[in-house]
Symmetry: C2
Subunit: 336 residues, 2 copies
């Protein structure tokens, strides 16, 4: 796979030179403006095709008054409220700049993600926001060089320089661990998602660092990772409670796992303490203590970075980190 | 605004005739295949432009092996789990046919919806699924005639003939009313969303028909419509409970309103019975009785109808109605 530096976006100047016409004529031909001889138009088009030049169709669209300036978002399933809240924040921000959001679900599959990125670029999105499925983003470096700015959300870019908006995953998980330790818990289970996902690794690290700083090792038998959906989380928590010495507290590392834990604990007479990463609808009604972060803000910040790039900003890649806060609602304050 | 019958999609035959070339040459020119003289190509393109002929770019894309055959969905905010569950069902079905879904949020604004439909058509989606914001869909009739099939979800098409997948809104609301009547309730409040939305009108009708059949009129002082978000629903339910003679039961006509009601009832010592339209995450944990329907099935059926049209099916417009079922979990079985 070629590295970022070996792929370069052809310029209109090169197209004009190859076609043997002026820059202005090349531009008019590609924009299908009148007063360009058909043969000239064809020569310019052939030159553009052979160089792989991609017309900026948006300017043309905006000129003729169409409102179809799009920004693409590739993320996981929007049925997950984390993704949909982020998308909603992006949308609100983009709309202020007259931009529309189109989204597609990568189903946490890197191949599919690549197809979607390609489909969006083919359809001339002005920027691409990605909550990537995996940790290898080198292929995006190649796409990115077609001149479309990329912004990463929730997961840092690896293998390319791009703007990113991240959550303070380690800090948030550390505060969850410290909160449970302060409540007197030592046998603390952590139920985590796929460790191949960077945010999950950071949350695991944060929790472990809280335990280590405190000198507690009693959590170790209760670590469960690779728990990827609600049902699996429910089963995992049930199994934890059936242990001879069950944990007195549980930390779940995302909203889906918290949902599973709540199902498992529904009919338990003396449930363990529970803290979940990610706030969720009805957590207030259920009295669930969470590590919250502003999902709308993640989207808004990402949209803002994208808009700046669209507007011509060319500085180095930036990373914005969104802070977390622990909201005590009862479940995390139960004593062991 | 022209009616459906006055707008006709130009054919490739007409393009070829106007350009004075064979059908085959016209096709090759528009697909930018080799061995077409530049001047011929330009003539064909001019003819296509003047007729408003829209190239089916997907076939060309599929020929060159790209995986970018897209279907568009325009719906309300995906932060609403109803929309995101439907989108998830659509996606799963489309993927089996090698089609990708892109979505955009109309923000329940008819103007924005129109821009999005246009943006999607510009980007050559193969079909458009719409959960429309309003009840006037005549403008879609015009768009639809560009040859892109439309499927309506959740709301029936008005002003054009198109496939639709609907929920049995009236039947579901009737069952909620009957359930509460059977539980001994007479002073039953209905908290409903905007009455301009057809599904809401059907739910109101269904509930009223249950009351009328039973000969109960005591619900009438407790009817609240135009309640459009969670906070408004919370406030509305609080106000209902402050009445001199409060209702003994509440029926909320969608998931957002149910969430608001649950917040309002959180700290109430003897809460009224509650039945909500739409199932939701954690309703089982909260013990909330709901009128459920298979949101994934709505999406799957809509995607299936779209795929059949894409594959050439040309029969009359079809309507599929998804049934509902009442799931008793405790909140709807409290006695007054």
């Amino acid at each position: 796979m070629p590295s970022e530096s070996t792929v370069r976006r052809p310029t209109l100047t090169e197209v004009a030179a190859l076609a043997g016409v002026s820059l202005k004529t090349a531009s008019r031909a590609l924009n299908r403006e009148p007063n360009v001889a058909p043969s000239t138009g064809r020569r310019v088009q052939d030159a553009a095709d052979s160089l792989g030049y991609r017309l900026n169709g948006i300017a043309r669209e905006l000129r003729r008054g169409a409102t179809s300036a799009l920004v693409g978002l590739v993320s996981g399933d929007l049925a997950n409220p984390f993704y949909s809240a982020v998308a909603s924040g992006i949308e609100r921000e983009l709309r202020q700049h007259g931009l529309l959001l189109i989204t597609a679900n990568n189903d946490e599959d890197a191949e599919l993600e690549r197809s979607l990125v390609d489909a969006f670029l083919e359809r001339r999105v002005r920027a691409l926001l990605v909550i990537p499925s995996g940790d290898d983003h080198e292929y995006l470096a190649i796409e990115g060089n077609r001149g479309v700015p990329f912004v990463f959300l929730d997961r840092p870019p690896d293998g390319l320089a791009a703007d990113a908006v991240l959550i303070d995953n380690a800090g948030g998980a550390r505060s969850a661990g410290e909160h449970l330790l302060a409540g007197g818990h030592r046998r603390i289970a952590m139920v985590a998602d796929l460790a191949r996902m960077a945010p999950q690794r950071s949350r695991i690290d944060g929790f472990v660092s809280a335990m280590t700083s405190f000198g507690n090792t009693l959590w170790e038998p209760y670590l469960r990772t690779e728990v990827h959906d609600v049902r699996h989380a429910e089963r995992t928590v049930r199994d934890l409670l059936l242990l001879e010495t069950p944990p007195t507290a549980i930390f779940t590392t995302n909203n889906r796992l918290t949902t599973g834990a709540l199902r498992a604990l529904r009919d338990v007479v003396r449930p363990p303490a529970l803290v979940g990463f990610d706030d969720f609808d009805l957590a207030d009604v259920l009295g669930t203590t969470v590590v919250a972060h502003d999902m709308g803000a993640i989207g808004r910040e990402a949209a803002r970075l994208a808009y700046e790039r669209i507007s011509g900003h060319t500085g180095p890649a930036r990373t914005i980190v969104i802070s977390t806060s622990l909201i005590a609602r009862g479940s995390g304050e139960r004593t062991g």
